[in-house]
Amino acid sequence: MSLEHEVRAALRPKSPPAGFAEQVVARARWSAGGVRAPRPFHAWRAVAAALTMTAILGGWAAREAAQQRAEGERVRREVLTALRITSDKLRAAQQHVQQIGASDEYE
């Protein structure tokens, strides 16, 4: 197979992460001043609604968030443990192979 064919295959277009277009549009809106501040007339209503919601849901949400954070941190540590063990074993394999390679060179 030709080199040009392989280069073309290697340079096949890739997609950006999901939500890329939305992020750009959000930045564009922001840069264009498209995000409007709430008008003063509505501001007090928003504040009142927020306070009421906070009073009702605040305690529950905080407890939920704390639980989820603790669970997330635990899972995060497990991921790191798993990656560390995987890396140790791959490193061991690599060292073995390098030793074999080194001894082959002198044979």
Binding site: Q68, E71, G72, E73, V75, R76, E78, V79, L80, T81, A82, L83, R84, I85, T86, S87, D88, K89, L90, R91, A92, A93, Q94, H96, V97, I100, G101
Partner: protein
């Protein structure tokens, strides 16, 4: 006609799975005999949760881990240490190997008589690696790692040296 369409759909999905199937890594009684046990079982849902706890700053190491983790379908690690040699049945290793179908390829096999034996297998479909299994067996330790899901070598390579993840050299020679 409807049956034909159904068959095509079933065949299409069967022919191009997005991830390898997780292996069965249940070894009854083994943990009781071990002095140290690491048992990590993280399915897709857990991994999505974990991904949220890796910060996403552009170019950061944490982001690189997050990018890898959030695409995976599972990470399963079983690691046992024993206080004397020969505490586990070598058939366990054979049992794990037997679960690997024809799409799996052994890319590394290092074996030495008195030291650690390491085998690395990958499940490659088309352009993509969708599964990784590492079996490391030594007299007093047995470790089996099973990573399920699309494994992007380039992203893995970017983890090199970070969080203790080493350079993963794919060009290792096989020793049969």
């Amino acid at each position: 006609m409807r049956r034909l369409i159904l068959l095509i759909v079933v065949f299409t999905f069967a022919a191009a799975p997005a991830a390898a199937q997780p292996l069965k890594l249940d070894f009854p009684g083994l943990a009781e005999r071990a002095t140290e046990v690491v048992d990590v079982t993280l399915d897709a849902q857990m991994l999505r949760l974990a991904a949220k706890f890796f910060s996403g700053g552009a170019g950061s190491e944490e982001r690189a881990v997050r990018d890898i983790v959030q695409r995976l379908e599972g990470i399963y690690v079983r690691s046992y240490q024993f206080d004397h040699a020969g505490a586990y049945d070598r058939r366990i290793v054979e049992n794990v190997r037997r679960q690997l179908g024809p799409t799996w390829k052994r890319i590394v096999n290092v074996s030495s008589r008195n030291r650690e034996n390491v085998e690395v297998f990958t499940d490659v479909r088309g352009d993509a690696i969708i599964g990784l299994v590492v079996i490391a067996a030594e007299p007093r330790e047995l470790t089996i790692v099973n990573i399920v899901g699309p494994i992007d070598i380039e992203r893995l390579a970017r983890l090199e040296g970070q969080f203790g993840v080493p350079h993963i050299r794919i060009e290792v020679k096989e020793k049969r």
